[in-house]
Amino acid sequence: MSATSPRAGLSGPVLALLLVGAAVMLTPMVWTLLLSVKSNAALLGDSGAALSPPYTLDNYRAILADRLTSRWLLNSLIVSLGTTAGVLVLSSLAGFAFARLEFPFRRSLFLFVLLGLAIPEQAVILPRHQLFATLGLHNSYPGLILPGLTGSFGVFFMTQYFRAIPRDLDEAALLDGASRLRLFWSVLLPLTIPAQATLGVFTFLASWNDYWWPLISATTSDYYTLTVGLASAQMNYAQTSGLGFLMAQAVFASVPILIVYIVFQKQIVRAMAGTAVR
């Protein structure tokens, strides 16, 4: 059998290598989990203590009692969901127009948008910080969300996806008396759901994990995202004595995103494989 035949099971040596790889992937996480269920005192000076009991959930209780961590979690959710929703809406509208409608400068505008794929965040972030200061957008949700909405990738991706939908569906809808908006909303948009799922999950992940921008834009702890909030705790030497708590925070912060991932895993894989419309 060949390594690439899709139905066959995993052969012995391949399986063994995969198991080793999986162990390498999981060990750091298990280690983190172990550290998070040890009391801070037990870990002081001897993190090896994490390998043996007693274990405790005190660190997690402490997190639930700590209003800051929950606030950061909420901020991350707001920013990530807001960014995701925004990207999906904007990319779908623009993608539909670029793929299906005729309007002046359509081609030039599309090229203009593609240009954005080549612009790294670094080339923009400092002046944008200045710009947002002028606009008074720092330490606000719009200030955290707007930069995430300017990615060209979503528009490009949705345009490609809309283009792949057979045009006779549009025509059938036109004959059925649908307006452009109705065509977009009732006929084509539902067909892009796999693409929306993919783009949505990627956008959510990217936004959730964004670090640079929230680090300099969200500067009061009210608006910290989890990433920045945890970084502020991590770099405080006062936290040396709170290793277990720190690790519990890490686990706590990862749970929502892992849930998102597990829920959408099928969509991610399927949509990335480019399921055809029909």
Binding site: A172, A173, L174, L175, G177
Partner: protein, 365 residues
């Protein structure tokens, strides 16, 4: 009164002319087939009627109303797409209801119409399924159902049978024939399959090179093709066109001589034909038969034998290289390589002038 009327419709894409001043009238409840090779403009014409393309000029009238400036949904036409274009995310019921809802048809009426159409098309059991769960034939019916429920004044069918396998195609053809009995509207179907057109259509419109070549009943077009293109395009196997010259004479009918020297007496009136003018002698296979050498008009060598069971088509090559198709009995013993004699039934032969214009045997006599 004409149901649909096209007046001087023309259309180009940039510099490329795709329809050149097309005019046509379709009667109420008539089934018209647009037949032509790809690129002939037949699909463009259909789409102009539907409103999916805009003509550069000309008028489209339906039931006394000029519709060429209306959006597709307001024209009172329904279309069955070649690939059905069913909305994949909607159930069959939703597919059928979509257009009605857009038109503001009341809900009870929508339900009634869907129930009626589903009954007629025998897809009641499939109403809650999605297109992806159905076979090609079922999807075809749904596509038709979606058109029927709109109760249009005109049905447009774009290559309705091309996506079906052979067995299904025959059955669907019968169903289409029954369908038109039930609906109170004209139908236009686009096809490149002449058998489909001939079996279904009341009249056929043969298109080629951006223009209508001929409009007529199937038998009319088969028997009296307006020009060489129609003659060769309609009928299978295609009519043989043999180069010939008009022989001088005073007969009522024209006598022609083939390039190889053989002469054929036709029943085409000779008035207007110039002596010695080059023409083409048009012969359908059924008018060329195998014959013993003494009764034969021509001698030829068999290059291909096509056995259909009830009859046999014999492709034969004349000495001058011209290929001619003859029809023989089903149990014909002829084999490739045989030398055979061909007998031409001059009474049924057609003549085509140098510009392609067809002349046909005088039916009156």
């Amino acid at each position: 009164m004409a149901s649909l009327a096209l007046k001087d419709v023309h259309k180009s894409y940039g510099d490329t002319l795709v329809l050149d001043r097309v005019s046509l009238e379709v009667a109420a409840r008539e089934l018209i087939a647009f037949l032509g090779p790809s690129g002939s403009g037949k699909s463009t014409l259909l789409r102009i009627i539907a409103g999916l393309e805009t003509a550069d000029g000309g008028e489209v009238w339906l039931e006394g109303r000029r519709i060429d400036a209306l959006p597709p949904g307001d024209r009172g036409v329904a279309m069955v797409f070649q690939h059905y274009a069913l909305y994949p995310h909607m159930t069959v019921r939703e597919n059928m209801a979509f257009g009605l809802r857009n038109a503001g048809v009341p809900k009870p009426e929508i339900d009634a119409r869907i129930a009626q159409a589903a009954h007629v098309l025998e897809i009641e059991a499939q109403l809650e399924k999605k297109p992806g769960q159905m076979s090609g034939g079922q999807r075809q019916r749904v596509a038709i159902g979606r058109a029927i429920v709109k109760q249009p004044k005109l049905f447009l069918l774009d290559e309705p049978l091309s996506n079906l396998d052979a067995a299904l195609r025959t059955r669907t053809r019968v169903e289409l024939a029954q369908l038109r009995q039930r609906v109170d509207a004209a139908l236009i179907m686009v096809t490149h399959d002449q058998a489909e057109a001939m079996t279904l259509a009341d009249r056929m419109v043969v298109l080629n090179e951006r223009r209508i070549q001929q409009v007529g009943t199937p038998m009319d077009i088969y028997a009296r093709p307006a020009n060489a293109f129609v003659a060769r395009f309609v009928g299978s196997p295609a009519m043989t066109l043999a180069p010939a010259t008009v022989m001088p004479g005073n007969d009522r009918f024209a006598r022609v001589r083939l390039a190889g020297g053989a002469e054929v007496m036709t029943r085409v009136p000779r008035n207007g034909l110039v002596d010695g003018a080059p023409v083409s002698l048009g012969l359908r296979p059924e008018h060329v038969s195998l014959a013993p050498a003494e009764a034969a008009t021509l001698q030829a060598e068999v290059i291909l034998v096509e056995r259909l069971g009830d009859r046999t088509f014999v492709y034969a090559c004349l000495a001058d290289g011209l290929e001619m198709i003859a029809q023989d009995i089903g149990s014909s013993a002829v084999r490739v390589g045989d030398r055979v004699g061909l007998r031409i039934d001059g009474d049924a032969a057609h003549l085509f002038e140098a510009d392609g214009t067809g002349r046909h045997a005088d039916a009156a006599t």
